[in-house]
Amino acid sequence: MSLVVATIRRDLLLAARNPGEWANPLMFFLMVATLFPLAVDPDPKFLSRIAGGVIWVAALLATLLSLDALFRADVEDGSLEQWLASGESLYALALGKALVHWCISGLPLTLMSPLLGVMLHLPNDALLPLLLSLAVGTPVLSLLGTVGAALTASLRSGGLLLTLLILPLYVPVLIFAASAVYQAGIGMTYHGQVAMLGAMLALAMALTPFAAAAALKLNLSR
């Protein structure tokens, strides 16, 4: 158990030393949302209708951007081999990795989102649902992402493959989350969608670490 804690601490420390690791996706998130009105239509009425969807698509792509390197460094420098040698469960490692990934990608995105919401004229009633849907939805993205990242960890350029593998799994999250924000914006109830996201999170937390652990084992049994 101490190794799980040590790994979480080490990875957070690594993220603090390499600000690019978490700042790049965040910048990407900000830029997409800023450029969108310039390119399409700055009309507040139009923007307020699509703001939730734009923010969610940007968040999803920013998450994908940061997934690629999740396990690759650990495979290349031997950390993953040391983990397997320690006899600790890979399930715990995958869960810990997903937690760290969320802390450096999903959490900053979530905290930043109300600002973008205001910039894109998101109705005030939809700000809380936006925050809520991101808070519950982005951990699902991180958890699903660990499976893809684990599968492609020992490939030289697994980025595109990772996207192809993971993007279809992200679609349900996107649909329910964007719909929650939209419904809240037009004054309808959004609890059903958020509950669905919560169910997805519970399912992902229980199941994805198994898949990620199995994929990590494949990387090592060369």
């Binding site: 101490s2 790994t7 420390l13 030393r17 420098d77 031997g78 081999e81 040391q82």
Partner: protein, 215 residues
């Protein structure tokens, strides 16, 4: 240096091992037994299967025929116990370049019992990294990075060490230090399995196992 070991008994036995890679037989009918006080050096040309055998004995590789037992039990049944009683160090040092030696060592030794931070600082001093504890490993030489990984040997209480090419990138003083560590481990009735092209000399109990004849 007379650190107690975690357990008294060491009994790693391999029976009729056969391993193939890409339709090439690396070794077959290989049996060996390792008990207290043994120092086994695997030798052989590059590609002879030294690392493969080492990983297999460490329980990291299940793709082989034959049987490996720890204290008489099949490896698959006692892996988590075994994992805590042997220290495996691959040829990749598992050292993060953005972190300092002490931060790296804290992670590497996270499972090596409840040692206090003092022990880790002393270990870094023992591998002559005194004064470099807070320097990012990025700025250290390859040999110094290897020393960070090797500092773990000063902390570990594991009775069995499995080391893959630990002499890589070490200077003469480092080689002498590591030889002394191996000797100390054998002297306190531990055991070591090692792959190295380095000629280990003057260590009692040294056995050599040459691979590469089967091909």
């Amino acid at each position: 240096m007379s650190r107690p070991l975690d357990t008294e008994a060491i009994d790693l036995s391999a029976h009729a091992l056969m391993c193939e890679r890409d339709d090439r037989v690396l070794f077959k009918d290989l049996s060996l037994q390792i008990t207290n006080g043994d120092l086994v050096q695997l030798t052989g040309p590059n590609g002879a299967g030294k690392t493969t055998l080492l990983r297999l004995l460490a329980g990291l590789n299940q793709d082989f025929e034959g049987e490996v037992r720890w204290l008489g039990q099949p490896m698959s049944e006692c892996y988590s116990t075994y994992a805590h009683q042997r220290l495996y160090m691959g040829h990749l040092p598992a050292v993060k370049k953005a972190l300092t030696p002490i931060e790296n060592l804290r992670w590497l030794c996270a499972n090596d019992a409840s040692d206090s931070d003092d022990t880790l600082w002393q270990a870094l001093e023992a591998v002559s990294l005194y004064g470099y504890e807070e320097t990012p490993c990025l700025q250290l030489s390859a040999g110094q990075q290897r020393r960070v990984a090797l500092a773990r040997l000063c902390v570990s209480r594991a009775p069995l060490w499995i080391l893959d090419e630990p002499f890589t990138a070490l200077d003469a003083a480092g080689v002498a230090w590591l030889e002394a560590q191996l000797q100390a481990q054998v002297a306190r009735r531990g055991a070591v399995i090692i792959t190295s092209h380095h000629a280990l000399q003057g260590i009692p109990g040294l056995r050599q196992l040459a691979l590469g004849d089967a091909a």
